[in-house]
């Protein structure tokens, strides 16, 4: 029994790693295509049918590029920083149920690596650790733009993490559990049971914080190309930079899963249709990340912090208080 559990977990980890590494690559393809269509361009068209093999071409390029460690950088920290970003993104995936449990060859599979009872706390904590990637990478780079980016990363992290925690507190109070599977069971009754309807404010707040968490466009401040080049990634090349990239895109997928599971009912009753529904919700959230990038301008760091501390945090507090009063 122990051996079987061990083997099963290893297989799950490998499958999740492979699928989401590939999805991160395909995510860049979709991002380029969607952005191109929204800007009346074509996007990648030359490599493979509809440019689909562009991902492979980019991968080959990243893997074969020279690994440059510039002079004056703090070598060890510079080298470990991209690994932190990618590793923490995938570690956070351990507590996410990607699909309802299903039976294969008479063996029941739960598509979650570890169903821990503090799942959402664990996910937010590990995603918070992911901050150390940009922070350490930027500080170790011996580059003023990277340093600015690291400073921004720290400042923004403090701002949005407050919103993430506070906004999620009200749903957690309602469900009475921190496990994402419990969240799913709470909303299993169908579309009317979704926490979205009882906690719309928390949903919007968490969504906004998710944009800051993944560093996507309205809050794309730590690698804001027109201000600070590529921020913490300026001095990185080849696969080290690629690890930052994989981490960022994997994070986008995982936070989409978390939002769908927390607020939009997840996989519902666990049927095949429910599983498809979860994937559709995740696809919508991922598409929305790309959509806003085409439509919205970036805000300044001070505007983001003003928004987080002076607007969103009070709203989140009021939301918690009202939820508590209603629950009493």
């Amino acid at each position: 029994m122990e051996t079987a559990y061990f083997v099963e977990t290893i297989i799950k980890i490998v499958v999740i790693l492979l699928i989401f590494s590939a999805l991160a690559g395909i995510g860049t393809y979709f991002e380029r295509k969607v952005l191109a269509f929204m800007q009346r361009r074509l996007g990648p068209v030359n490599v493979g049918p509809f440019g689909l093999l562009q991902v492979a071409a980019d991968g080959i390029k990243l893997f074969t590029k020279e690994d440059i460690v510039p002079a004056n950088v703090v070598g060890r920290i510079f080298k470990i920083a991209p690994v932190i970003t990618a590793a923490t993104a995938f570690m956070a995936a351990a507590a996410i149920p990607f699909l309802p449990s299903f039976t294969i060859f008479g063996y029941e599979v739960h598509p979650i690596v570890a169903d821990i009872n503090i799942g959402i706390l664990y996910i937010l904590g590990i995603m918070g650790v992911g901050l150390y990637g940009p922070l350490l990478g930027g500080m170790a780079s011996a580059n003023k733009f990277a340093l600015l980016s690291a400073a921004r990363a720290a400042a923004i992290f403090i701002s949005y993490e407050v919103i993430t925690g506070l906004s999620i507190l009200a749903p957690v109070m309602m469900v009475g559990s921190l496990s994402l599977i419990d969240f799913n069971e709470y909303q299993a009754g169908g579309i009317t049971d979704w926490i979205l309807w009882s906690q719309p404010v928390a949903f919007v707040l968490f969504w906004i914080a998710a944009f800051a968490e993944t560093g996507r466009t309205p809050f794309h401040l730590i690698a804001n190309d027109h201000e600070i080049i590529d921020g913490f990634g300026t001095e990185y090349s080849g696969m080290r930079w690629g690890l930052f990239f994989i981490g960022e895109y994997a994070n986008m997928f995982f936070i989409s899963f978390v939002m769908a599971l927390l607020f939009l009912g997840g996989y519902g009753d666990g049927s095949f249709l429910g599983a498809l529904g979860l994937l559709a919700k995740v696809a919508f959230f991922f598409f929305f990340f790309l959509w806003t990038r085409a439509a919205w301008p970036d805000v300044r760091p001070d505007q983001l912090m003003w928004l987080c501390w002076k607007v969103l945090m009070p709203i989140a507090m009021i939301n918690i208080v009202i939820t508590a009063i209603v629950m009493m």
């Binding site: 269509f37 439509a295 607007v311």
Partner: protein, 211 residues
């Protein structure tokens, strides 16, 4: 029709009160106190402008009206007066070279990229022995085409002259209209810089020296 309208619009730039195309942009006064700023924030937050932006890009995606020219496969049409890599024209009557080796193009070239060398041929007529243009230096100003008294050197439409060196040359033989093209009568006269303007015959006046 559309062009005429634009032309008219650009020609009449006088902003008159009668002209209804102009109107003052409504700019609200900048808020100075905290309450005014708060009001502005509320107004901006709930006016839904973010969703207008989202709708615009989504609409463009659904319409799928891309404007991309897939360059190596498709090319934009270029004008007949386009100034790209030079061409050497031949005489329509005799298919011989128009260039008389006067060297004016070399003289006028402001980036010093033309080199010409001439010699006397067996009939004691001047002929071009060496002629090259350094395309790496050429700025395609068109002075050579303008100064040429024989309309021999002109610009052509070949703009794909990328090179792996800064100095790359085009030689006389490469610029010269090929004989088979000449025989087929497909040599195109250049309409651009230095060319004869249309209806030139009607404008020519006899000088007092013409007798």
């Amino acid at each position: 029709m559309h062009n005429e309208h634009i032309q008219e619009h650009f020609n009449n730039r006088n902003v008159t009160e009668l002209d209804s195309n102009y109107y003052m942009v409504d700019i609200a006064p900048y808020p100075t106190d905290g309450w005014g700023k708060f009001q502005r924030v509320i107004k901006r937050a709930f006016r839904g402008e973010l969703f207008v932006g989202l709708w615009v890009v989504l609409r463009e995606m659904i319409k799928f009206d891309t404007h991309t020219v897939q360059y190596p496969a498709e090319k934009m049409p270029i004008g007949p007066r386009y100034r790209a890599v030079h061409e050497m024209k031949r005489l329509w009557e005799s298919d011989t070279e128009r260039c008389i080796g006067c060297g004016l193009c070399e003289k006028i070239c402001i980036s010093n990229c033309i080199r010409i060398d001439t010699k006397l041929d067996e009939n004691s007529r001047k002929e071009v022995s060496e002629y090259s243009i350094n395309l790496g230096r050429c700025i395609f100003c068109g002075y050579c085409a303008e100064v040429c008294p024989e309309l021999a050197i002109t610009h052509g439409g070949e703009y794909e002259n990328a090179s792996d060196q800064r100095e790359h040359f085009v030689m006389y033989e490469d610029m010269l209209t090929p004989l088979d093209k000449m025989k087929a009568g497909t040599q195109l006269e250049f309409e651009g810089f230095g060319a004869i303007t249309p209806h030139e015959d009607e404008r020519v006046k006899k000088t007092p020296l013409a007798y």
